[in-house]
Amino acid sequence: MPSATPIYSFPYPCEGEDVTVAAFANLANAIDAKLLQLQSDEFEALNRFNASAEFTNPSTNVAAGVETVITGTDSTYIIPATGVWLISCTLFPGTPATVSSVRVRVRKNAVAQFGNRVNTETNVTFPTEAVCAIRCDAGDTISFTCFYTGTGSMNVFVAWSAKMFVRIA
């Protein structure tokens, strides 16, 4: 009755058994399969997912007091593999009639995860960044929203990056 190693179950014949060529082949194939698996793990580890967009295009028009979803090319990112992802974004606001604060938020599947809100009471807007590590599952959709307090409306762009920290097999 053949046995196997305790960790990877490499097969081997027991002492006293008739040994055929199949025993050699089975052991060699089992070792080869494990080495191929390690090679695949190494490749995935060295080639972790990275994605980014310089700016969403065209700009998104945001009215004062309205949480607005950023639209346009590269305004969303579909997570390709489950893991812990570092998501960062920068909102580039326009110049509305008046503005006292501007907020950007990152969403996962349309649910807000984190964001950043800045005080702009001098009516001078400036880029607003938000960054955080969150767990994402394959297929999750990352998107962004903008909200500001003031009057009028403004056009905004978003730049973002998504980097996988840890892959969850």
């Binding site: 052991l27 809100r117 938000a130 955080c132 920290f165």
Partner: protein
């Protein structure tokens, strides 16, 4: 040259034993390589979150918030076997090395907002024995009365000596009321690599 045993001419009858030894020796070698691979690529990482509102953050005090303050917490991800969500962020810094870390949270005044009052967040290391802050990254914000709460996010990368602690501090100057930290605050830390001293010759 491999140190896997080779069969001897006088041991042809022990072919089964030889194959067993070969299998066990190959397993031991591959296991070692696999552990080294996993250690190299599976960066120790923790991500925790609050699952209730943290209430009564006082003004003019640097409050550590990575332990949830008085909120309940849960672990989103942890590959370092820290069992306590409240202390996992701090404990990861025990490993030392190059550590990236950060936090994202929302704070809302429990009562009135003092217009344009300070919201100061910092993340970094501290001496566990003395409690003194060491390396820190700061983010400064101010809340307007029109805001209705402030989203905050911060990150930093630090060279950490083994045994140092890590924490996220929050301070506000909203004299009109205390602040509450909303459910869903996120605290994260990941060890990017070893501390190394590069000698230039």
């Amino acid at each position: 040259m491999s140190d896997l045993n080779c069969p001897s001419p006088s041991a042809l009858g022990d072919v089964a034993l030889q194959l067993q030894q070969t299998a066990l020796q190959a397993e031991a070698k591959i296991f070692t390589q696999e552990q080294l691979l996993r250690r190299a690529v599976n960066n120790p990482t923790v991500v925790t979150t609050t699952t209730s509102t943290a209430t009564g953050l006082p003004a003019s005090v640097d409050t550590p918030i990575n332990g949830g303050v008085n909120a309940t917490m849960s672990t989103i991800f942890n590959n370092v076997a820290f069992t306590d969500a409240f202390s996992a962020f701090d404990e990861l810094f025990d490993l030392g090395g190059i550590i990236a870390c950060g936090a994202a949270f929302n704070v809302v005044a429990s009562g009135a907002v003092t217009d344009n009052s300070l919201r100061l967040t910092s993340v970094g290391t501290y001496n566990r024995s003395t409690g003194i802050d060491l390396l820190r990254a700061f983010y400064t914000n101010y809340e307007t009365t029109a805001s209705g709460g402030v989203d905050i996010s911060i990150q930093g990368v630090f060279a950490v000596q083994p045994g140092e602690g890590g924490r996220v501090l929050f301070r506000h100057e909203n004299a009109a009321s205390t602040l509450n930290m909303s459910t869903g605050a996120i605290f994260w830390a990941t060890r990017l690599g070893d501390l190394s001293v590069v000698k230039v010759v």
